[in-house]
């Protein structure tokens, strides 16, 4: 289960509604905010695929300017993939179109 540390940069005038919106996502922990529009958050998702999707969703939200990743740990997911307990959902092949 990957864990990421993020600095989410926002329009400071929209801090309250953005924080309220972020509360709707169970995978996001808010650790702090400041007056310059920085939100320190930790995202903990079931897969890194889900984290990627969540980051994209956040990036598109009103008032959010960037979602900057600073730390990423995926040890658990790697162990699961190696143990055959989790298979990434995508596959490739020459016959695909």
């Amino acid at each position: 289960m990957p864990i990421g540390g993020f600095v989410i940069s926002i329009d400071p005038s929209m801090e309250k509604p953005i924080l309220k919106n972020l509360e709707r996502f169970g995978d996001i922990e808010i650790h702090g905010t400041d007056d310059s529009g920085n939100i320190v958050a930790v995202i903990d998702t079931a897969t890194s695929d889900e984290m990627e999707k969540l980051v994209k969703t956040l990036s598109r939200m009103d008032g959010i300017l960037t979602v900057g990743l600073t730390y990423f740990n995926a040890e658990d997911e790697i162990e699961k993939i190696e143990a055959g307990e989790f298979v990434p959902k995508i596959s490739f092949g020459k016959k695909n179109n």
Partner: protein, 796 residues
Amino acid sequence: MGLSRREFIKRTAALSAASYVGMHLPFSLEGKARAADADRWVRGSCRLCGVGCRVDLGIKNGKAVALRGVPESRTNLGYVCMKGMLFYKILGHPERLTKPLYRSTKTDKFKEISWDQALDIAAKQFADSVRKHGSDSVAYYGSGQALTEETYLFQKIMRGGLQTNNVEGNPRLCMASAVGGYLTSFGADEPIGGYADIDQASCFFIIGSNMAEAHPVVFRRVMKRKLDNPNAVKIINVDPRISPTSRIADMHLQFKPGTDLAILNAMAYVILEEKLYDEEFISNYSTFRQSKKVEVDFDTYRKFISDYSPENAAETCGGNITADNIRQAARWFAKSNGTVSMWTMGINQRKRGVWANNLIHNLHILTGQLLKPGADSLSLTGQPNACGGVREGGGLCHILPGHRLVKKEKLRNQVELAWGIPKGRIPPKPGYHTMAMFSAINAGKIKAIWVHCTSPAQSLPNADLYRKGMKREDVFIVTTDIFPTKTTELANLVLPTAFHFEKTGVYGCTERRSQITPKAVDPPAGARPEVWIVREWALRLARELNDPVIKKCVEPFIGKEESFDLPKAIWDEYSQKLTKGRDNDLRGATYDVLMKMADGVQWPAPTEEFALTGGTVKKFVRGMDPMADSEARDDKPYQFYGPAHPDRKLWIWLRPQQGPAETPDAEYPFYLSTGRIIDHWHTTSMTGRIPELMRANPYAFVEINPKDAAKLGIKPGDMVEVKSRRGTNVLPAKIYEGPIQGMVFVYWHDMFEDRMINRVTKDAYDPGSKEPEFKICACRIRKVSGPKPLKPYIVS
């Protein structure tokens, strides 16, 4: 109470993010065991763009399990993008190449062979070709992703050993025009300043670059500067397509493709008309040039620029361009406390890419927006080592290591002396540039080519034409790569290599900064570092051709351990012998120093003592650049000692508007442009194998302006044929208020034949830089069906 392992990692993640913005959190991990996180962290550079972000790779039980940005790094200040965060998944990927593969004819299936067999075959094929057809029948085509040690050693064997300058690389496709621009405007390649200027700039002029997607970490820095100073900092974005970069702009100038030179000249017009230029700077440090040999005066330049009134330019450029917004852009540019221009392929990949670069530099020279904090004309590089390895290390057909021109005998002799090979060994004639090289393959003139760490079968413009040559049975193709690609499909010999962090070497990023990445994990069994491959190949070549000079080229490296000692010996030779006294003097950037520095060294850095300060933040400025002091000819604060301008001046160029090689007409009424998407890197041979990135953008699509789509009855998701005089794609439509009306845009990463847009692009190129005009050609579009289910495709 003890923390669980996951709680520990979460707190680590939170503290890491908080430290970047100076936020204090109500907990710390002082005194807690660190083993839950990683056994050890190895510091290196990210591999997936030219920014040069520094990262720590977390290793546990010999495997990469985590990644974090390096806050002390002046390149990325600790931030990394999602693409960078996931690159570690390439390490140990099940589709990695691990065995040398060989087939004598291209219709055969590959069979696995041993490394000894593979190297014997490669040596015999190149030796046979040289014996039968001469030295210029062989070629090397490399990459801005190869380590400097790799590019340097390859080109040494080709030039000093096999006596050919047929040494090229994919940076010809992306930044050759920037090289031409810097050399002709400033007399020296690569930018004067760097990213540090972003933090002090008051105006950003972003032209022909979607840096939000292609260079997200630098974009974040620009945005931070803007957010901290919302009124004082202005951002001008100039692009025919509205992109994610445009959303932070105070002004977006959307123009008809190929009319950028008119906009830039019109801004110069306003600067002259409103006397916004820096007269003292111009008279002290610049001249006006009509050609290399024809110098003109300010009045001649003024007369030339009089054709480019904002009113005239607005008419030429179309789109939303008005005389008023050109005037406003020029005022912001000239009057700010510091202006930084940034551009990428939108400027470089043009039939007149060098001219476009010159005209950006003109604006900086005219206004004196150079050499001071917060001001620079900063070309962003696309690949992690296009600057360090290829531009500096001698990776193009006309340049030797240390920014030396092949055609200058004195400079060739310096290299021959450094290598200890006979004088006259390096041929005087530059080799084939990229498009000429692949044309020579088509013509059967090149019989053996080594393609390293790149996929020209997908990345060349008008790709079908050049794939014909690569399919010829009388052309022997060796590839070195980590995954199968569209080019390995056309190869005879495929050699599996070690990946980033599985070997040691140096990358040089956009801002003259060299950074080391040491080996952190073992490559998959069977994959080898390229420097070992080249050394062993050269020893066999020497035996095949009975030529002791070839052996001499690798003699200093024989017996060296391959993961650290061998690349160190190569770097030592290059940096100590080949950059000594050159403008990219790297003698102070030894492996010892590079291993100590969080973020490497900016050249020139002639001594270790100076390199340990970080090197030269601003080139040409006395007191900041040691060469500006050692090469000074007078008391002026700026000294332009670059090798290309003997008059030691900055050159303001008279360059007229010139359109693209192909413009729309009745048969092909649309402009086609191409570019990158945030999730993917180049031809997706790597990022396409990372499920998270591939799922986000599994296939290319064609962006169509809503007004054009309505006229043609095209709806979102419809399958659309994009056809040019060269080829056809069929892609799903994205109806998007992005491209200007009359233009469509396609991402170029997709490997699937029907969505491989370089089958459609044009292979016209800049006559100076020889860089192709990927960004503009004519096409027509039509709906062929409604939406269809699609699947991603990767060569396997």
